[in-house]
Amino acid sequence: MNPFALLQADSVAEASAAAKDVRLSVLKAGGMDLLDLMKEGIAEPTQLVNLRTVRDPALRTIEAGRIGALATLADIARSDAVRASAPVIAKCAASAATPQVRNVATAGGNLLQRPRCWYFRNEQFNCLKKGGSTCYAVDGENRYHAVFGPGPCHIVHPSNLAVALLACDGVVSLAGGERATLPIAKLFHMPDRGIRDESNLEPGEVITSIAYSPAPVSGFFVVKERQSFDWPLTMAAVALKLDGRRIASARVCAGAVAPVPWSLPLVEKALQGVALDDEAALRAACAKSIDGAEPMRDNAYKLKLLPVAIRRAIADAAGAKEGQ
């Protein structure tokens, strides 16, 4: 780890300006991911701009429909407002990492964390993301990599929270740049649209909060290899609008299957009008989730997991409805 300057920002404007002006400047919220990156020599910032010293309470406020960017995952998980307005968001926050991490990791930092691909994270692999010319996953160990997307890099997006927010039509509020807002659906790009980073933020743009549409009938399901402190093999988040026991409309999104939080419009369409207890129709709709997938040598099992995860997320959402 190299020496760096630490700027304890007093305001978002100060943080934004510092991030823009100084080369290799990095914004730091909880710092959970950044510490890993710096220890492995993947990130070598010359300046860290600490957002946590900004006192503005709006950055930490959680209310129904809006989450401050500095709210921790633990705050989100136990927020009654979030649990009532969009249970899927609270549940995703609660399922991440460990209690220790959730107490420190923030909503904004969680969205912008870097991928966990083991070629990206191991210093000696000069992969595409680090300016190299090879994606080592293609001919290497790819059991945890993406089953969607044309490449050339095959990471999966690491944030479960982003998938939940996508299902709830989340929109991030921005400061320090030209744009005031950006939908979650446009926050990230595929590797063929820029390989060195994952987000569409400009230097100096800071997420201040995340708004979402109420989704009281929402749920998720995650498949993990290990049930403690593990990344998902596949996960799904759904937000339903019900007409009695029938699905009037659905938002269906998946995680750990693509380089970005993955929307599944074919499934959403197929779910329209399906009764919650029509097992065959639900299965048929969820089966459409793997249309267009191109698995690699060792990750085709994700195509078995994805429809299951969606079906169980729907059941979770329906259960949340019944719990009310």
Partner: protein
Amino acid sequence: MTPQDAHPISSRGSGAEQIPTRMPTANRPQNAGKTVNGDTSRLESVAKVTGAAKYGRDMQAPGMVWVRGIRCPWGNARLIGHDADAAKAVPGVVDVVVTGDTGEYNGDAVGYLLAENKLALSRGLRALRARWERLPCRTGIDAREAVLSVSDKAENALLFADHVLEAEYSTPVQTHSALETHGMMIDHQGDAAVVYASTQGTFAVADEIASFLSLPRNKFEVRCEHVGGGFGAKFQIGKEGAFAGNVASSLKRPVYSFCDRKEEHLDTGNRPSALVKVRVGFSKDGTVLGGQIGVWGGVGVATRGGDAAIPSGRYEFGVIERSMTNVSFNGGAPRAMRAPGHPQGAFAEELMLDEIATIAGVDPLELRIRLDKDETKARQAMYRLGAEMIGWKDRQPTGSQSGVVRRGFGVGSTSWRALRGPCDIEIAVHRDGSAELRTGTQDIGTGQRTACAVLAAERLSIPLELVSVAIGSSRLPNGPASGGSVTSPSSAPAVLAAAADAERQLMEIVAQQIGGAGTDYRLRNGKIVRGEEAVMGWNELCRRLPSESLVGRGTWDGRGSPYFQKGNSNGVQFVEVEVDSETGVVQVKRVIAFQACGRIICRKTAESQIIGGVIQGISYALFEDKLLDRQTGAMVNPNLEWYRILGANDMPTIEPVLWMDAEQTGVRGLGEPPVVPTAGAVAAAVFNAVGTPVRSLPIRPDRVLAAVEAAAVAGVAKGGAS
């Protein structure tokens, strides 16, 4: 998951009251009735949870220089260039030593760098800009090259078989993953040194480091007061120790050389991978007639040490012919790991037995009861009692379940030959009534310190609070390295001899004071008694010591003590799992672990050993896998993020059952036997739930899903045929 959902580790099985815990009095050694000390926690537990306990890794000294290896990043590579001058130009870098240019595995060291601080160390390594040319590499055993050739004798055994099972079982490389990494801090002060080592062999380190330090043995001390696990990988000083020794002796300065987690995975030993191919014949009722078993052991750059213990010898298998081949590849060399060779052999053997039982249509537990050769009959009793405890009668026939969540039961066995070595112990009794037990051996987290104190207090008949233990120093009396489960059984006879010697000397003092002979008196319940009459209190006696302390000495040469129990420690483990047939996720719900272990010194630490063995066994069954990139030979998961160890949410209810055979009155070690059967029993349970065996560890969701699919296809085929 709420705390209410968490699975407790139960310290007593539901059937505990049925277990024989009373030993016959006829051959019971002195004090045996009291040495089952159930309530004693580790003496150092508070120090450990508060952080007051200092491990070798915690040690620092003024003027300390830091060392780190220059390591090969690929499976096979040549160092074609580096910039030593640039590295030396980094402020704080002291020196760069490059001794070779070939790396035969990821983590192989070709030299080292030393620096005044940790930051300079990492910056120096970066500035060195080591350039490696990658060469073709081999990352494991190639199953296609492993051809099982069946001998004539084995073929003859197969002639009379009703069925023949041909199968391949494979296990991955497992790393020891001790919490405290390998290494040492040598506090070198010019003409003397203290070596703070993380080791399971205090005296082995002293022997090995002596040649580096060029100091006579009376000028340096190896210390390891607390050690964060070893599991067999910490007998030798390793490269990290050699670097430290070299630097300390040449600079005459304190040196810190500990591996980071990555180096720990790469270059401090492992349990070798194994491929077991079987071709065995059996009759209609499952009786095994014999066959051929081939073992291929993946030993990295080593050339030996890859054997897997199959057949284990616990079951009657008829005429078995066997071959064994060590397969070298571009990976770190193995070291001993908790029951070397046995968990990988037991995995293949137990799953094979369940496959045979299923084909023959017999209950796999009944088959084991029939085939088990246990001469003491302890396992026979464990099989029957365990079946009741786990609810074996609820077990569904293998392959009969079709629900989403399927339940499976498995069973496996273990036996471990009791070993021991020579040991010396001193017990100093002080004028204030306190006693200090001194042993140079080490407590690697097993409770050795506590066991020694309990035994000494029992034998001296004084409260445990009066006894402290000085442990883990080469200046203390000689004791065994912790391997082969020898530490307790080697120490116990010496502790009891030292206590007896202290008592003899004390009673002579009593005799001098109040008349009679020393042999007229003995210690009982904190008093000195003659017959039934108390003549003096312990504290009063101690106050009358002629000098500040009196030292009792015990020496055991490893032969003929009633406090050491020869023979085999038998065990049986029952496992219940739940398999989600749609996600492939396996949750182990319950493990009942029977373990015979001779006389128990301290129930809590004994049970802890069994629980720990089971945890490591499940972790091996479901998660652990040192994964080398097939292209480059680099380990892709050299961390504890992707190298998964069983976590809190994955923990089943574990019920250790300490089994005391009637004739067992001496002490045995418990480190290894409980880790042997677990993975095999888990695999058998998953097979029972799913209907198709998963023959490779770890039992990952993708493998389980493939097995579920294969079972469904087989079910359809079977249905179609009938």
